[in-house]
């Protein structure tokens, strides 16, 4: 067993999921170690609230742990995890939505200055105003730098839908922020 443990890090994500399902006590821990930071970023950006993100990402990893057997290997494990995290965030957001709006969160930046902070708050506020589908598309494509194909897989929509959502979302944000085409 020790030899297996020593080589755990050498296995692919899919192999670790299989090992977890087969009963390896440490395989899912390695999955968690590999992906926790990225899933954290997705959750924070999707929820817009670190506290809610913490709850959502915990929900997600617990769900992934329990339902690892449902992973069929048709997508990358990271895509599968993204989808679970996004869904967990949406679940949390929808539960809270009736009583409060999506909060605007300022993340710490030691290179801060007032103007930059105002801009970031404006950007986040504009992002928060977008319809859910458009906001998720921008979070995954523009902020998480995922491909259109991966984003489509995570959101369960066609690639063309992701593209159009991105386009519409950017146009709406540009208008909200007073940007003009050609700004980039």
């Amino acid at each position: 067993m020790s030899s297996a443990l020593s080589t755990l890090a050498d296995h692919s994500d899919a192999q670790l999921i299989a090992a977890h399902c087969a009963g390896h006590p440490d395989a899912f821990g390695e999955i968690f170690r590999r992906h926790k930071d990225r899933m954290w970023a997705v959750a924070v950006r999707t929820c817009g609230d670190p506290e809610m993100a913490a709850d959502a990402v915990q929900d997600a990893f617990l769900a992934a742990y329990r339902r690892a057997g449902s992973f069929r290997g048709e997508a990358a494990v990271t895509t599968w995890l993204h989808r679970i995290v996004v869904n967990a965030c949406l679940d949390r957001l929808r539960r809270r939505r009736p009583t409060s709006a999506l909060p605007e969160v300022e993340l710490p930046d030691r290179h801060d200055d007032h103007a930059a902070t105002v801009t970031r708050l404006d950007v986040r506020a504009a992002l928060a105003k977008l319809p859910e589908g458009q906001r998720l598309a921008l979070v995954l494509v523009d902020m998480q730098q995922l491909s259109v194909a991966e984003t489509a897989e995570i959101l369960g929509v066609a690639e063309g839908t992701v593209k159009s959502r991105c386009s519409r979302a950017r146009a709406a944000m540009a208008e909200s922020l007073g940007l003009h085409r050609g700004a980039s």
């Binding site: 080589t7 990402v57 329990r66 993340l107 950007v123 902020m143 944000m173």
Partner: protein, 332 residues
Amino acid sequence: MTEPRWFEQDANPDPTMDDTGVRSLLAALPDPGPMPEAVAASILSALAAAQDRGALEPHEGSAQLGAELGLVSDSVDQAEIGDDAAGDHTAYVAGMPVRGDGAVAGEAALRALPDGSGRPGRPPEAPRGLWRGRQQRALDQGEIRRRRQVVLGSAAASLAVIALAAGGLSRLSSQGGTTTAGVLTANEPARAGGSPGASDASELSRQPDGAKAPTGALPNGASAHIEQSARSYTAATLPRLAQAMLDTPGAPPPSDAVSLAEVSTLPGLSECLTTLGEGSPQAVFVDLADFDGQPAAVIVVVDATGLTQAYAVQRSCAKGEPGLLAGPVVMP
């Protein structure tokens, strides 16, 4: 929100091309950074709890691949599968074979294990596995759990409770005495942590050799330990003496005490917990003792995240009438 196909064909520009500048603005927003250690520790704790409960749902087709990869030894596989019926999925969880539905696998499977090397049936003397190791390290570094509604404190004490619960679960199953998961064994010292006052309080609660506290499972599956001690709690000493109870579980209350105290029965305790707002605990410890000189019950509740809180209530605590005397106090 699905756009018509004609729209996608006519207006699906390359998302990497953006003439609004929004993509650049979004990309320039500060990265959230790595997952905070407190969040990671909390998740690891929850995962460990899930592992202890055998929360892996039934699955198909993965065990063979795991074995082929050498990640699960053949002997263990065979032992785990043991007398399971064909097609029944078995997963090894936290030192004991637990079937996909959470039930402990057959005793024959436990006996079939090689001493020392085989995992099932071997009591986990210490937190084991990557999660446990990381959890231990994280907590050793003084990390705190995230829980904004409570005063944050050291989580080491809570880990002790979790370790106690996990150890109890595994030992119970390894003894083959029952197949009821979620029952905590008594008279087992905590595997980690401890408190400065533990030794003093343990003197107070020392019981004759062989004494065994009652154990059981609440309706939600949470393990429950109920004892009676001579501890005299006050609001100031509640956390310390409650920790002493965790460190040194004592003997069960005599039958007359049980008859007088609602909280000393599992149904009564369950109703009391519900009244206190603790509807889904992971483990519960009850000490029939004194509080401010009056008979009372001190209840320590551990939730799935490892959050450990102590209450002092009247022994009549029941549905709708908590008789709260102190708490909840987050355990140090």
